[in-house]
């Protein structure tokens, strides 16, 4: 038969259903005979119930899950990337040139993409136009993978970079049968903040798009690489095209 001194130290484990059945039965048997332990047990049960009720009564703020979703998705495009190009539609983009490693805190630093729209854009051509992607990739130091755009063919490519070469991207020009051109930029290191673009998940994959002036832009990260598409077609058409690439 258990004594009071044996029983009370096990009250917490009994409360939490963490005791073997046999031990729990022995404690309960003791409490049937012992008023003091029984009273102590009731008090402990009451406190536990009180804490439990307190937890259950904590009201959840309206829209909590939606706000979390929004924040998580806003952080998504910042996960990897770096520099970028955007000759035209990039007023909404901000990019960092300070690091090649993801660092959330430094995203706010860097050039505003509005700078890219001026004649003094820091991204200058750093190679001649060519269709030889292998040579271009060697020169740039990263793989260049032309994307498969339905109805479009790759016409030419060249590298663009900042003067200090910290940002270097491939600029690929595609044309369709109507001789309409579409420009895509590819990069594979650095950061980009595209928080101002609208974000969409198509078949579980992130696409961000927006419009500045007459230009549309779509951004999508894929397999540690980042792609930007810039052109004058309607944004939704461009998004549709990018999602099929």
């Amino acid at each position: 038969m258990m004594q009071c001194n044996d029983v009370t130290p096990m009250f917490d484990s009994l409360l939490d259903d963490e005791l073997p059945t046999q031990t729990a039965a022995e404690i309960n048997a003791h409490m049937r005979e012992c008023l003091a332990c029984s009273k102590e047990w009731e008090e402990r049960q009451a406190l536990r119930q009180r804490i439990h009720t307190f937890g259950k009564k904590i009201p959840l703020p309206d829209g909590l899950a939606e706000r979390i979703d929004k924040r998580v998705h806003r952080s998504a495009p910042r996960l990897k990337y770096f520099g970028m190009a955007l000759s035209a539609a990039a007023a909404v983009l901000v990019f960092s040139v300070a690091t090649t490693r993801f660092d959330y805190q430094t995203v706010k630093a860097g050039l505003t993409a509005a700078d890219m729209l001026t004649d003094n854009s820091p991204l200058k051509p750093s190679s001649a136009d060519t269709s030889d992607l292998t040579a271009l990739a060697k020169q740039g130091g990263f793989d260049i993978c032309p994307i498969d755009l339905p109805g479009y063919k790759l016409m030419s490519a060249r590298l663009v970079s900042t003067d200090d070469k910290k940002v270097c991207m491939a600029r690929l020009t595609y044309v369709n049968e109507k001789k309409e051109s579409l420009v895509c930029y590819e990069g594979c290191h650095g950061q980009v903040n595209i928080a101002d673009l609208s974000q969409h998940y198509i078949e579980g994959k992130l696409f961000c798009c927006g419009k500045v002036g007459a230009s549309s832009i779509v951004y999508w990260p894929r397999d540690s690489r980042d792609f930007f598409m810039v052109g004058t077609m309607p944004t939704l058409d461009m998004l549709n095209l990018a999602s099929k690439s």
Partner: protein, 192 residues
């Protein structure tokens, strides 16, 4: 999916630890962002709730550290002396005050006064319903330590609640019945 299933539990845990709505929501949001970034470290088939809870506990600790390090602010007395117009509580924190009054102010005060080492295991068990083993994993402490901290934390709570003379909510149904019987007996004696 993770957000839908776990946001409410994590929020309640954070609220229990921090005691106010805004801080609780901030740390929960931060935790999900961290979880998203660290999703590659999550192993499919393992306990997502425990993984998220670990992230939340660390985020809460960071938050508290940050708040503690923040420069001290003017006290209410100092502000009054300086002629600063203080916001009316009725307009400034109505929502928070309402939440506080509907919960259990004595218990909340007692919980907030516990050291983190004891409060967190109590909340993980009694609010978040984690097992001893899960708590040990989340806090990275041995199971024996979980048991002793739970026991000590609850003891501290009992002491604080007794000291704050809030015995009423402690009354169990049996105690209340006993009390009512005594009242009736007393009434009978008095009337006779």
């Amino acid at each position: 999916m993770l957000v839908e299933s776990h946001a409410s539990g994590l929020y309640r845990l954070a609220y229990g630890r921090l005691g106010n709505r805004q801080d609780a929501e901030d740390v929960v949001q931060d935790s999900f962002v961290k979880a998203y970034r660290a999703q590659s470290s999550f192993k499919e088939g393992t306990n997502a709730e425990a993984w998220l809870t670990t992230i939340l506990i660390n985020t809460i600790r960071d938050h508290i550290r940050k708040v503690t390090r923040a420069p001290s602010v003017l006290s209410i007395e100092e502000a009054k002396d300086a002629g600063v117009q203080l916001p009316d509580k009725q307009t400034a924190g109505v929502e928070q005050a309402l939440i506080d009054s509907e919960l259990d102010p004595e218990l909340q005060a007692a919980l907030q006064s516990l050291p983190d080492a004891f409060l967190t295991p109590v909340l993980l068990r009694d609010v978040h319903d984690l097992s001893y083993q899960e708590i040990a994993g989340v806090l990275d402490i041995p199971m024996g330590t979980v048991m002793s901290r739970l026991s000590r934390g609850r003891q501290m709570l009992r002491d604080k609640l007794k000291n704050s003379q809030c015995a009423e909510p402690f009354k169990t149904e049996k105690a209340e019945k006993r009390s009512k019987v005594k009242d009736a007996e007393h009434k009978e004696v008095f009337e006779s």
